[in-house]
């Protein structure tokens, strides 16, 4: 990137200086294999000599604990959760991502604003309002979206753990069947992701293949995104 670009107005305290680094976002639903791929990308990039920072959801110093605490309760509504996530996101953007870009690092972000927006959209929060809220976000150099079918998702998730309340949309779906809720929720989420992919020019990567195949596809895109880096 070199010159930092925002979706809307420039928020206070991050504008100005050049940003020679690269912002690469990996998006996708739960269980699609994001963390595995990000770990591999980081290792590869570091071996190639790039300084890398990795950040993801609910990892901010400010808001991570609060969100986790709120999600254990049962009075958390979609709007509050969204603004809580926005706080967490901003804290990481301002204190981790932007400083990394300024020093010429590669910022690998495990889920960006799009996961937050998709989750809120399926819960009925208007898309225009969500776009307004997140206009303070930096436009990434690449958004790599790992796409998968919902049929593939379930066994992947169940291979490692039980179904989760939030991942099954049980905060707003009222069916008695957890499996059914998971399918309905994740299908709706996938559809939102595909809409967002068109709206924001994601590079869609078929995540149904082997870990190695997916990694190769990601590598090719990251290589493209890093072109010209450090040339100045």
């Amino acid at each position: 990137m070199d010159e930092i670009k925002f979706y809307g107005h420039t928020p206070p305290s991050v504008a100005g200086e050049p940003t020679p680094g690269r912002l690469i976002v990996i998006e996708g639903t739960d269980g699609v294999g994001r963390s595995t791929q990000i770990g591999m990308l980081q290792e590869w990039l570091e071996a190639e000599g790039y300084a890398v920072t990795v950040t993801g959801f609910r990892r901010s110093e400010l808001a991570a604990t609060g969100i986790n605490r709120a999600m254990r309760g049962n009075t958390l509504d979609a709007l509050t959760l969204n603004l809580f996530y926005a706080t967490d996101f901003w804290d990481r953007l301002e204190k981790n991502i932007v400083p990394a870009l300024r020093t010429g690092m590669v910022a690998l972000v495990d889920r960006y604003i799009f996961s937050i927006i998709a989750r809120a959209r399926v819960r009925g929060v208007p898309a225009r309002w969500l776009n307004d809220v997140f206009e303070f976000a930096v436009v990434p150099d690449r958004v790599l979206y790992l796409d998968v079918d919902v049929e593939q998702l379930l066994p992947r998730v169940l291979a490692v753990r039980q179904l989760d309340h939030w991942e099954s949309g049980e905060d707003f779906l009222r069916g008695p069947d957890l499996h059914d809720n998971f399918i309905r929720y994740q299908s709706a989420l996938l559809q939102e992701f595909r809409t967002l992919a068109e709206e924001h020019n994601f590079v869609t990567i078929d995540a149904r293949g082997s870990v190695g195949d997916v990694f190769e596809a990601l590598q090719a895109e990251v290589r493209e995104a890093l072109k010209g880096m450090g040339d100045a």
Partner: protein
């Protein structure tokens, strides 16, 4: 766009054309605004006592008090982790939570909701910290339009005098020290609160807030407040032949969000003072 049918269909402000019940509620929303030391909390407290003495169902809500958000805000303040944008976003989260779990249900049930500070506090403080004014208005567009907004206007010197006389020390963020105006806390407070006064002045017209001269005696101000409120009470929900908690329960209002009403009637002296 897919939208699942859940029990929760979010409705937003007019800008997005989705206000619940077209923004028409049986309840009444009265809000007070003003800088620290303006005396607005005293006034809204007296107002609530008066309404309760008339057996009206009141629900009180305060800025920055959501049980699920405020601990994060507090931590951010204590550890000085907040910057203009995170300060803004976390307060918006707090407000959203109170709208959802407290303000809207109470208004839909027909209660009179009294809010000590409202979105205008965010508009003033965040703008004074350089956050985009238009963006603030857009993200807060889910807020319910108050039936009556009262702005207690006070000169800086008076507010500083009152704060020094009574309350706890000035906070780091309260005095805008995060903005680096001055290392001296009182000087910083003066600069920051001065900016807030400018923001409030501009907003009285933008949002039709009624300005009350907050240098007047407390009882005189309260008289004025009650004169503004009186016409709004015609159809207000009253408690009839039952206890207030019972009435609240019937209206579907219960739980930890609903503060128990003031049981005390104003003393004769207080009434006489009016």
């Amino acid at each position: 766009m897919t939208r699942l049918q859940g029990h929760l269909a979010y409705k937003m402000g007019d800008r997005y054309g989705m206000h619940p019940d077209d923004g028409e509620y049986p309840g009444t929303l009265i809000i007070v605004e003003g800088i620290d030391g303006s005396g607005k909390s005293t006034q809204i407290d007296l107002l609530q006592k008066w309404l309760n003495s008339r057996n009206l169902v009141t629900v009180f809500t305060e800025w920055n008090s959501s049980p699920i958000v405020r601990r994060t805000t507090k931590r951010g303040k204590t550890e000085e982790l907040l910057t203009p944008m995170s300060f803004s976003l976390i307060h918006a989260a707090d407000f959203a939570s109170r709208v959802h779990a407290q303000i809207l249900p109470a208004l839909r049930a027909g209660a009179t909701v009294l809010a000590d500070r409202y979105v205008y506090t965010a508009f003033a403080r965040d703008s004074a910290r350089g956050v985009n004014r238009d963006w603030l208005r857009r993200i807060y567009s889910f807020a319910v339009q108050p039936t009556l907004g009262l702005y207690f206007k006070v000169p800086l010197d008076v507010s500083i005098q009152r704060i020094n006389a009574g309350r706890e020390e000035l906070g780091y963020y309260e005095s805008g020290q995060d903005m680096g105006f001055s290392n001296d806390r009182e000087e910083s407070f003066r600069i920051f609160q001065g900016r807030l006064l400018d923001e409030y002045d501009a907003m009285t017209e933008e949002f039709g807030l009624m300005t009350i001269d907050a240098t007047q005696p407390i009882a005189v101000q309260q008289q004025l407040v009650r004169r503004y409120v009186e016409p709004l009470l015609e159809d207000a929900m009253a408690v009839r032949g039952q206890s207030l908690p019972e009435a609240l329960g019937k209206a579907g209002l219960s739980g930890r969000y609903i503060r128990p009403p003031m049981s005390r009637r104003p003393t004769e002296q207080e009434v006489a003072d009016l």
